[in-house]
Amino acid sequence: MLKGQKRENMPTDSKVNGIHHRTGAPVVNASTIGEVIAVTSGDGVLRLFQADRDSLAFAIHEGVILSMARESRSWLTGGEDGRFLRVSMEGEVEEIASFGSKWVDCVAADGEHFACSSGKMVYVWSPDRSQPELLEHQSTIGGLAFNTKRKQLAASHYGGVTIWTRRGNRWTKSVLAYKGYHSSVTFSPDGKFVVSTMQENAVHGWRLSDSADFAMSPYPAKINSIAWAGNNPYLVTSGANEVVCWPFKGKDGPMGKYPICVAERKQIVSCVEGFPNVNALLAGFHDGTVVLTEIKHESIPVVLRDAKDVEVTAIAVTETGSDLLIGDAEGEILWFKMQ
């Protein structure tokens, strides 16, 4: 047994097809590798879930696990304790770096490189170097993402998004400027667009070929969760009382097109995730409701979990779509077998 590892015997109760775990700390993130889902919480614990097995819990950070990203067979995590860690699918923990009293706000990986941010600095590790390269920015980093199609790394911050492109063995910089704070960033699956969420209740996008930019707004609330879903693909977003799905097909992406809006309810959407291999998405709401819906006009959502007055903070699905995990702000984790 590794230090901090324990096989969990938490109080659970079985609902229809579901197993409930109560952890006592807000769920922060969930991430899938194959048929295993890793969940991180505000008490520094990472839990591994898999169908028909006991969940495993590993106390890896002191305090909140702020960020998480997947590699091919491991997860990267960043914490309030200033540590940047790698956790294998077996729960083995490797400390990559430690930043003392500064938080590790963001982490990202593309299979070849991996990176984290602490304050204004991004640290990138490459296979041909033993030490990380330091990339400095004008303000604290809100989001980090790799573009696997173009060997690029995006860092979002106040005033826009910086795109770092790997040329030879160094990173060269270009800035996509747009006023306001950009709190997270992601590349489209084809690598042609970069999109950021903003403090100002908006999503902003750029086409990388010519830096043409477009605003996707307004939203009634801040957008804390975005994901790529469906066959278009769509950028699916929280922050409204329905899931707003922006089409990114073709060379113009969503420019000049209307979004598809699904799963309308009275509450604001707090968490979204694509459902693998089908044109559907999962949406969690501020009141705890979770629905599954097709991404098409007038689709009828299926309620997977009823309201319980606690915000949904994480949703993940296994790669085959057989099992589903939901986490909330009060620390409840629901493992759910899809029929």
């Binding site: 006592g24 807000p26 002191e62 009293s101 604290t140 747009y178 006023k179 403090q199």
Partner: protein, 323 residues
């Protein structure tokens, strides 16, 4: 455990050397049985080592929303959001600002960011001033004046190092800038923590409680270029539509010079007291509780800011009275 309760946030301002670190160390080391997280900036006077201390770079962001003086503390939005994910419940959060910081962006963060407002609430702005150096600092740095103007409580510290005549002069100067702040004389920041924490000074339903003579007192204002205050009263009820029109135009056009505003208003046809609180162009107001039975109904509004004389406040306010 109620995870939905708002955690109070106290903002601690003051110049370098005034005693912020002394006070923070007291808060972190005293046996008070409470859990306080402290957010300090990298230019702090000396290091404080504690697992509940978060080290940040102060970052003031302009919002891209057309409001020119709408600035927020971006680092605070990020850190507060992170702290709210902790498993253990915090009793309070204390934010230390850099010596020369303008308190407005910190206060405005709580008006602008809905998530911050949902999970935390601005409790009070506490400004520590050094009795020995304050006069010189006020003459040389406009930030010293702003920190006093924004304060709910001013800790007049190091009183043992100046003679009583000077102390009286310094205190008068503080009152001239901000007659509504409570002044606490201290040496080495020694005072009960409940005089600076848990004051609820920014809560609308505490405005009358925090300032018991709010409706009674009337402070004269001085005519000069410095920060001053003006209070306006009316025994005649006000017309809501006229007030709304005048006040929103005032904040929109002159909000940069109005640092803080608050008021209790008697609107014709409204049974409850209307209470509001503002920072620069942002304000938060709503009808609160009933007027005391048998007591007089009156409106009072106070402004702290620069160049208030040119805003023709009395004239604008008088025009809102029901004819």
């Amino acid at each position: 455990m109620n995870m939905n309760a708002q955690v109070p946030v106290t903002v601690l301002t003051g110049f370098l050397g005034a005693g912020k670190t002394t006070l923070l160390n007291r808060i972190l080391t005293e046996q008070h049985g409470r859990r306080y997280a402290v957010i300090v900036n990298e230019f702090g006077e000396e290091g404080i080592d504690n697992d509940l201390v978060v080290d940040v770079d102060e970052e003031v962001f302009e919002m891209n929303n057309g409001c020119i003086c709408c600035t927020v503390r971006g680092d605070l939005i990020r850190i507060l959001s992170g702290l709210m994910k902790r498993a253990d419940k915090l009793d309070a959060i204390i934010v230390e600002t850099t010596g020369l910081a303008d308190p407005a962006p910190v206060a405005q963060t709580f008006f602008v960011d809905q998530e911050v407002a949902d999970h935390t609430k601005l409790d009070a702005i506490v400004t520590i001033v050094d009795a020995v150096h304050l006069e010189l600092q006020l003459d040389e740095h406009h930030e010293a004046e702003e920190q006093i103007a924004f304060a709910d409580v001013v800790l007049l510290n190091k009183t043992d190092l100046v003679d009583p005549a000077i102390l009286g002069r310094v205190e008068a100067r503080i009152k001239k800038i901000n007659p509504y702040a409570k002044i606490r004389r201290t040496t080495s920041c020694t005072l009960p923590l409940d005089e600076i924490l848990g004051l609820d000074a920014f809560s609308l339903d505490r405005i009358t409680e925090f300032e018991p003579d709010f409706l009674e007192s009337d402070h004269d204002h001085e005519h000069d270029d410095d920060i001053t205050s003006i209070s306006l009263t009316s025994e005649t009820a006000l017309d809501y539509d006229k007030f709304e029109e005048w006040f929103s135009t005032l904040l929109r056009t002159r909000g940069q010079n109005i640092l803080r505003s608050k008021g209790i208003l008697d609107f014709q046809g409204m049974e409850k007291r209307y209470v509001f609180q503002g920072v620069h162009m942002l304000m938060d107001g709503s009808p609160m509780d009933d007027w005391p039975t048998g007591g007089r109904r009156a409106s009072k509004i106070v402004f702290i800011g620069r160049d208030l004389e040119s805003m023709r406040l009395q004239e604008g306010f008088d025009a809102c009275k029901v004819a």
